[in-house]
Amino acid sequence: MSGKNLKIFDKLIYGLVLIFAVYMIFSIMRVKQIDLSGFESFNMVFISILMQAFPFMILGIFISSVVHVFVPNEVLLKIFPTKNGLGFIAAMFAGILLPVCECATVPLMKGLVKKGVKLPIAITFMLSAPIVNPIAIMSTVYAFPSMPFVVFIRLGLGLFCALVIGLLFFIPALGENVFQNCENDDCEEHSCCCGCHSNNDKSIFEKIKLVFIHITEEFFSAGKYLIIGAFLASAMQRFVPEGIISGFSSNEAVSLTVMMLMAFCFSACSTSDAFIARSFSNSFSLNSLMGFMVFGPMLDIKNMCMLFDGFNKKFVLKLCAVIFAVDFLVLIIASIFI
């Protein structure tokens, strides 16, 4: 046994002891009937958000993993014609056929650009795919059952923003120096979070196994953001007095900015963020919720980290700024109509 491994075991034991201690404290508090009603309702909200978001996230990951493993990249490339008009239309709606959430679109978009798809088209694809994802559409319908038009507004605004942002990257100043200086294969290898490349010549059993390994990887990379997001959302719902939030929500521009920042920080998967948005529906206007649901899938902390992984830093910052600016302007204009 190496010393390093011993340390890991120590940490693990500390962790388990800590969990046990927390469990004991909770149990004692429960037996002694200390008033935990505030905490208990927080707990209910927290667990319930997870209980409905996790299944949808896993379903999304499952489908995107199947596509990832069974659909070769060459087929993906054929989907995007080189002519601009068709290319953009394909980019906007390819997400319906490639049901991937934003965790998968970043590596996919990188691959597309490297294989010769035009940058604006690839960007439009990256931004619209999570929104037109059938599972995202389904969960939006489920999250706002009494307001079926929400899903149409989300799709409309999302696709429009994605198209505008993509077109903006025809401007030479924005679309240059996309990649990091190192153009060797090393960079590409690091960019994928799952480490399951070159899977064309494997047996069907191996492929199925790969699907589930991929699901596990994605679950454990995206799930923690969902947990943190659900925690913050339910803490806000339970412990922040309504006055503070409605203070934010009185001004359309401020509340929109708050929701967009929240979407950025929460990094919720596009397949489940509608449920989180839904939980804010009592304190924020529908348009601000749109900010959460349109901007969130396009850009969040975990997306940005993945972008920094393979692209030039300046380019990523420019991309983020453009996404934020376009979404904000479009939603502010939309707020007049919603």
């Binding site: 969990i19 927390v22 209980m51 996790f54 947990i227 009592n282």
Partner: protein, 248 residues
């Protein structure tokens, strides 16, 4: 070479996947899952549980691979909700905990009618002149219908079971026999019901369950004209089996 060393990350992941799938199945099996989420989510929960179980099974093959991989502390984040979910039993919400953010009963109904225009045909309401009995199935749609077209319901007899909910704006002979409506999950519960005029309303204990029979009339609260129930009888009943209303 110590080839058969355990990969702790993989072990933790297996435990977590098992934990979550057991949590979902357990909560559905013991009947408390409907306090967390709308029952239509159950099918997705079962499906994801099965996937997680398969994942855990396949991960077992990797238990002894890459055992020198860096230990991932972030995995502990996943234990946190699991622990909370297993330690604390599902609690029932009451209006106090649900309406922190949801507006009080009649207000939320008012705003919702703007969003949803599910108007019942005038004829069907008038034809069906019998007593309107609200139960778990029709509560939500009838409530919408009453709030959007109160004039069609005036004078109609109504019977409803709900818990006693009182708002600061109410006079001492007013209360709402309310139900909690869960659209998706416990995060979005809204109190819903009709204001009820009952001369002994102040005697009723909040959150106790009552069955109200009466006639639909109109009343004024804070300058707003709202449909209300003029109670003929109010009797206390036990909590209904299905506590929440699941509209979809």
């Amino acid at each position: 070479m110590s080839k058969a060393k355990l990969n702790l990350n993989v072990l933790l992941k297996i435990l977590l996947l098992l934990g979550f799938s057991i949590l979902f199945i357990f909560k559905i099996a013991n009947g408390t899952a409907n306090k967390y989420v709308n029952p239509r989510i159950f099918i997705f929960m079962v499906f994801s549980s099965v996937l997680m179980l398969i994942c855990a099974g396949i991960l077992c093959f990797k238990l002894f691979e890459n055992s020198n991989e860096k230990f991932k502390k972030s995995l502990f984040i996943y234990f946190f909700p699991l622990l909370l979910a297993f330690v604390f039993p599902a609690v029932s919400f009451n209006a106090a905990s649900a309406s922190d953010y949801g507006n009080s009963a009649y207000v939320s109904q008012k705003t919702n009618t703007i969003l949803k225009k599910e108007n019942k045909q005038e004829e069907t309401i008038k034809e069906n002149s019998g007593k309107l009995v609200l139960d778990e199935k029709n509560f939500y749609t009838e409530m919408y219908s009453i709030y959007s077209n109160p004039e069609l319901y005036l004078g109609k007899e109504i019977e409803v079971v709900g818990f006693v909910f009182k708002d600061d704006n109410f006079s001492k002979n007013q209360f709402v026999p309310a139900r909690l409506v869960m659209v998706c999950c416990a995060a979005d519960m809204v109190t819903s019901g009709l204001v009820c005029n009952y001369d002994k309303a102040y005697e009723l204990e909040e959150n106790s369950w009552v069955k109200v029979s009466g006639v639909i009339e109109e009343t004024e609260i804070n300058g707003e004209t709202l449909p209300c129930i003029m109670a003929k009888s109010v009797e206390s009943v036990s909590k209904p089996q299905q506590e929440y209303i699941y509209p979809y």
